[in-house]
């Protein structure tokens, strides 16, 4: 009997708890009459802009009482967003973007937002355009560039000019090595696979993009057009890149600890004059200037030299800080209202200067870097073929995977020919 009463009480208690959980919290009649506040989630993986965006969000939240925006930062944002999509916890606005999500209709079509596109540089609008549909699903507020940062003082002392061909490039490295044995001619931080992946992105992929043209290269990559990409050819862009890298290693023109060096090591050596050149994007600028503010006048910037017959130097000039709105959000109007606020010229000036990246908006004039560096970058952009990032890579072959293949190459596991063949095989495998 006692057992039955105990069971009955337990069941009643559980039922009460469940019902209490399901109950509405708006017991106060006045609360239901108050204006409804919409909460917007902004999801980002950009650590360098957290504070700036929080400032903008605070201003926006204070300017009205209908919408509250919250920023969520995740270091591994491009992967975390997959979990969010899979679990149905999709943020309203996000800075992560992937072709697969575009194909699946996960992003809101922003093509009709002429108030944004009319202000954007044409090249940036093109970069924001999906090749398959011709529509825009994200707005990129900034640009980023990548190329060779070099120490102008060392170059000037040795009478060197920035190289436009691979022969000139190796001559420069040789001159530095012979005249300054304690200086690393080109510092590569190869422990970080993404950095080596970027070398592929900017040098052999750069060649493909310049020879096919930006749009045709994207189409060839999406369709895995082997005749055009030609990754596995023993005399193609990949094999030649591999041969050149092995030669530089053999000749001691790159750091001997290439496979164990980190980004911090590279910054330290460059700002202390122990390294003459490094390959990186504009995002490294703040680290260089923070490590040694006196470098401001010594930092030079040059394109990647032409390394295939008939090719030209290239420099990355790509979209940065892209914002997309979830197609499934119930708060589209509010998300657009917030982006209108974020995209206004005053906020974009702050953002550009804080992020050290030039604005993609024509009406924003920002001092995003020291004048001498800006002049160097502008010259490089003028003198070289401008290329973008490869967003059309196979889903199963990331930039990190590309970098690991270069690690294997530099560790002596490949010949140039076997490296090129392996690259093609891995690219094909990633397509499946």
């Amino acid at each position: 009997m006692n057992t039955r009463i105990f069971k009955l009480f337990t069941i009643l208690a559980i039922a009460c708890l469940l019902l209490a959980g399901c109950a509405s919290t708006s017991g106060d009649a006045n609360a239901s009459q108050a204006p409804k506040t919409v909460k917007l989630k902004l999801f980002t993986g950009k650590i360098e802009t957290i504070d700036i965006i929080n400032d903008v969000i605070n201003e926006f939240n204070a300017s009205q009482n209908r919408i509250v925006v919250e920023q969520e930062y995740q270091k591994d944002a491009s992967n975390i967003i997959k979990i969010k999509f899979a679990s149905g916890q999709v943020p309203d606005i996000m800075t992560t973007y992937e072709q697969g999500f575009v194909d699946e209709g996960k992003f809101l079509d922003l093509s009709d937002r002429s108030e944004w596109w009319d202000r954007l540089l044409p090249s940036m609008k093109e970069s924001c355009t999906d090749v398959k549909s011709g529509k825009q699903y994200r707005v990129c507020t900034n640009m980023t560039m990548a190329g060779f940062f070099y120490n102008k003082e060392i170059f000037s002392e040795l009478g060197l000019k920035t190289a436009t061909t691979w022969d000139e490039f190796t001559s420069n490295l040789k001159a530095i090595k012979e005249s300054k044995p304690d200086v690393t001619p080109w510092f590569i931080f190869g422990k970080e696979a993404w950095h080596l992946g970027h070398l592929i992105e900017f040098i052999p992929h750069g060649y493909i993009k310049q020879s096919l043209g930006a749009v045709e290269a994207k189409k060839a990559m999406l369709a895995n057009d082997k005749a055009k990409l030609n990754f596995g050819a023993p005399d193609g862009a990949m094999a030649t890149f591999a041969k050149n890298m092995l030669e530089l290693k053999e000749l001691g023109y790159i750091n001997s600890n290439v496979l164990t060096a980190t980004s911090d090591n590279c910054v330290q050596d460059f700002v202390s004059g122990k390294a003459a050149m490094l390959s990186n994007g504009m995002w490294v600028l703040s680290s260089l200037l923070e490590a040694n503010p006196e470098m401001e006048s010594k930092i030079g910037f040059a394109p990647y030299p032409a390394y295939m017959p008939g090719s030209k130097p290239v420099v990355l000039s790509a979209e940065d800080s892209g914002y997309s709105i979830s197609a499934s959000t119930e708060n589209k109007a509010e998300a657009i209202e917030f982006l209108n606020f974020l995209f206004n010229a005053e906020n974009q000036k702050k953002y550009s200067e804080g992020a050290k990246a030039p604005s993609a908006f024509k009406d924003v004039s920002a001092q995003w870097a020291p004048a001498a560096v800006v002049a160097e970058v502008e010259t490089a952009l003028k003198d070289a073929v401008n290329i973008g990032f490869t967003n059309e890579k196979p889903a199963g072959f990331s930039g990190d995977d590309m970098g690991r293949m270069v690690q294997d190459l530099l560790a002596g596991k490949h010949t140039p020919e076997s490296y090129a063949a392996e690259y093609e095989k891995t690219w094909d495998g990633g397509m499946q």
């Binding site: 496979l259 199963g396 690991r404 690690q407 596991k413």
Partner: protein, 287 residues
Amino acid sequence: MRHVKTGLHTFMAFPAFLLFALFFLWPLAQGIGMSLTDWDGIRAPSFVGLQNFFSFFKDSRALGDIKTTLLFTLGSAPLLNLVGLGYALLMDGEFHGKGLARVIIYLPAIISPLIMGYIWYFLLQPDRGFVSQAMMQWGFSRGLGDWMNEYWLEMLVLILVNVWQYAGMTMVIYLAGLQGIPQELYESAKMDGAGYSSRFRYVTLPLLIPSIRINVVTNIIGSLSVFDIIMSLTDGGPGYATESLGIYIMRMCYGSKTGYSTAVAMIMFFIILVPVVISMRLTQERE
């Protein structure tokens, strides 16, 4: 009366079973289902049968990862037990500063393995690490040498760092076992003329079997599922040379091969299960 009690016990166990079903059985069933699909985390999945399992055994990178994981376990699990037992025997004795010594040995175990790995990387980094720099100061011109380009040296460093971090945890379990052994047994063994090694062999070891079992099983599970120490020390590189199976699963999952990575997780479950069952059986027989 007996029937009523059994019913009450079953009823009382129901919430625990519900939680077990919700957080273990249901995800497990979902995982098994997912491992039979080609889900990439974005598009709707299609059923592919056992294809993911066959693909795993054809992938040279995956097979290399099994080799690395097994080597790590073969080095790490026995060493952890030996060092842990050694520490426990030392700490079971009487000496000044015993409490402090125990804390020092146990301390690394409460630090995040990721942070530990990064700290060790800055200490051991070829050319630039503290240890290399110190060795160069003492006249060793190559410092530690380029250990990250030698697979065996990399494995050795990974194993030693792992042992250094978790030996304290193993020690605590052995110490509890040692302190549970009645002193009378040692005294009667002494009276029978048994020396230290005989007392250790015939009294300590047999009575430590439950502790040995716990340590062997947990160290095998921990070593076979190693992730963070490798991520922070070598990042699984160069290339994929020191990548473990746990890291492979994570990279496949985030590399748009979610279905495949779930299949690998199922395979890993059996890779862990086999040695665990064997060691449980062996220690049970001894006990």
